[in-house]
């Protein structure tokens, strides 16, 4: 009979409408920002640089300015200058480490290629700024975050990384293997 299909559709809609009051599965909406945000433990957004000691961020940063991530980043949004000490010898620390997050696409390639576990993915996303250029250029100071913070946002991954680093400590320090590029 004409119209039966439409009535059936109405019944389904009614079921969903009233069901959403009792069944959480039918209403997955989150009232952001009133009711918390939707960032889960697994999400990645932009990279940050890890340091170990909370008192001395610049002294204990893991990055050695080997520039592998700069070379491998697909949209080329990392810019690194290595620090030189008084005699002009490289100090194995970045003097400049910029990430242009208006270009960064959160692909995690830099994290994968870094041999020193020093760059990891952050999950913050509230990064809006009125300045379209410099405001979206994150400098070394903005990017440095502690290992404690890493444990807070990605506990499992941070634990794995710590275990790997502890295992490496026993062995001689790794030599940065330059990728074939």
């Amino acid at each position: 009979m004409l119209g039966i299909g439409i009535l059936k559709g109405m019944v389904v809609t009614a079921k969903n409408f009233f069901g959403s009051f009792v069944n959480k599965r039918l209403l997955p909406t989150i009232q952001y920002p009133e009711a918390g945000n939707s960032v889960t433990l697994f999400s990645r957004n932009i990279p940050f640089l890890v340091y170990d000691n909370d008192e001395d961020p610049l002294g204990t940063m893991r990055c050695v300015a080997c520039k592998i991530c700069e070379k491998e980043c697909p949209p080329q949004c990392i810019y690194i200058v290595m620090e030189k000490d008084a005699n002009g010898k490289p100090a194995k620390r970045p003097k400049v480490f910029d990430i242009d997050i208006s270009v960064c696409m959160g692909c995690q390639i830099c994290v994968e290629v870094c041999p020193f576990e020093s760059i990891k993915m952050d999950s913050t996303f509230e990064l809006s700024t009125p300045d379209r250029f410099e405001g979206l250029l994150l400098k070394r100071e903005h990017l440095l975050k502690s290992n404690t913070y890493f444990h807070k946002i990605h506990p499992d991954e941070a634990q794995e990384v710590d275990d790997r680093l502890a295992a490496k400590q026993k062995k001689p320090a790794p030599t940065p293997s330059t990728p074939a590029a």
């Binding site: 119209g3 697994f42 980043c73 590029a181």
Partner: protein, 383 residues
């Protein structure tokens, strides 16, 4: 007072014998809600009937192939996510498959299972939202679409859990996948897959018997079998025209030969067939998922040596059955870390070839449904 003033007047009705109509040219799009992105159709109309239709696109063109030819092999993996941004997992797989074919890399057993699971989840969410969007094009504005989007949400949560991102997953690697599944993922995936048939049943009651859908989709936009083959149509559109060609059965790439599933075929090739094929394919995907989840082995998921490599000079064409059709990558290597030639065979781009043939003689309102039933994503059409 005269009574003449309140008498009905006499009107002359224009007979219309010498009424002439001209063909009306309309540029439909690129900002049009029914074109699923920035897509334009140059339509010529006689009354409401389409007499000529030329698709115009390229508004999202970013020369994906040139970008890929200037980055390393690994570097273009995240860019493949952005081709068909509904199905980043299958895009990753197609690219990884082409590179593996060219460089002769093997994939561990567990990684193959993970790839199948991800690809079938992608198919589920793509088809679910496509069917939702199709009802939206038919005028059921919003409600059924949101049921589909809600279901897609549960699958995207799974993607995020495994890969870190909901849509731009960047999860597959040459010789495997990037990281192993987190603990508890498989159990949650099972739950989502078990809940999915309930949604499909609901969707079918909602739609398949619906008189409006029947009268607007049946015998609209018929694609004859021979034309479909000759015009290289692939995917659900091809199978709706009754051609039994599913790369999961033909090429048996990955480990698809281990699963028991069927290939649904249409008989008429109209919009209704294309719509039903997608609903039926979702049921088959659920079957594959259940088998894969039950038999997935333990083991390594990638080959860490395959991360950065220089393939020997060679060329390869790798293709998979994406949710929209055959997604292929043609790679030519000249022995440097960058591909010499990187070409994408985008299914929705080629499926648009027959848009004009399917729309000729139909009403302009039906052209919208025909376009919706082809299932295009402009990120892939324009590249």
């Amino acid at each position: 007072m005269s009574t003449e003033t309140i008498a009905p007047r006499e009107y002359q009705i224009y007979s219309g014998d010498d009424l002439r109509t001209n063909v009306l040219e309309i540029s439909m799009g690129p900002q049009h809600p029914s074109t699923h992105g920035v897509f334009r159709m140059d339509v010529s109309l006689d009354g409401e009937t389409v007499v000529k239709l030329k698709p115009v696109f390229g508004y999202l063109h970013r020369n994906h192939e040139k970008i890929a030819e200037t980055t390393s092999y690994l570097g273009s993996m995240p860019y493949t996510d952005r081709l068909d941004y509904f199905c980043s997992m299958t895009n990753n797989w197609a690219y990884a498959l082409a590179v593996e074919k060219m460089a002769g890399l093997a994939v561990p057993e567990r990684a193959e299972y993970i790839r199948v699971i991800m690809a079938e989840l992608t198919r589920l969410q793509n088809h679910a939202s496509l069917v939702g969007f199709l009802t939206n094009d038919l005028g059921a504005s919003g409600t059924p679409l949101l049921y589909a989007i809600r279901e897609r949400e549960h699958i995207l949560d799974l993607f995020e859990w495994a890969s870190g991102a909901r849509m731009m997953c960047n999860y597959m690697r040459f010789g495997g996948v990037r990281n192993d599944l987190p603990s508890g993922w498989l159990a949650q995936c099972k739950k989502v897959v078990d809940d999915f048939p309930a949604f499909m049943d609901e969707f079918e009651t909602l739609l398949t018997g619906n008189e409006i859908i029947l009268s607007r989709c049946q015998n609209v936009g018929v694609l004859p079998r021979d034309l479909a083959i000759n015009a290289s149509i692939t995917g659900p559109c091809l199978r709706a025209s009754g051609v039994d060609y599913d790369l999961r059965k033909v090429d048996k790439y990955g480990i698809y030969d281990r699963f028991d599933f069927k290939v649904p075929l249409g008989s008429v090739g109209d919009c209704y067939d294309r719509f039903m094929i997608r609903l039926l394919e979702m049921r088959e995907s659920v079957k594959i998922l259940k088998q894969a989840l039950a038999t997935i082995p333990e083991g390594p998921v990638n080959d860490s040596k395959a991360r950065n490599f220089r393939p020997k000079p060679a060329e390869a064409y790798g293709r998979i059955e994406g949710p929209k059709g055959e997604l292929g990558f043609y790679l030519v290597s000249d022995g440097t870390p960058k591909p010499h030639r990187y070409h994408v065979r985008p299914p929705s781009f080629i499926n648009l070839t027959v848009l004009e043939d399917m729309c000729l003689g139909q009403k302009i309102a039906d052209a919208v449904i025909v376009l919706g039933s082809i299932d295009i994503v402009l990120g892939e059409v324009d590249r």
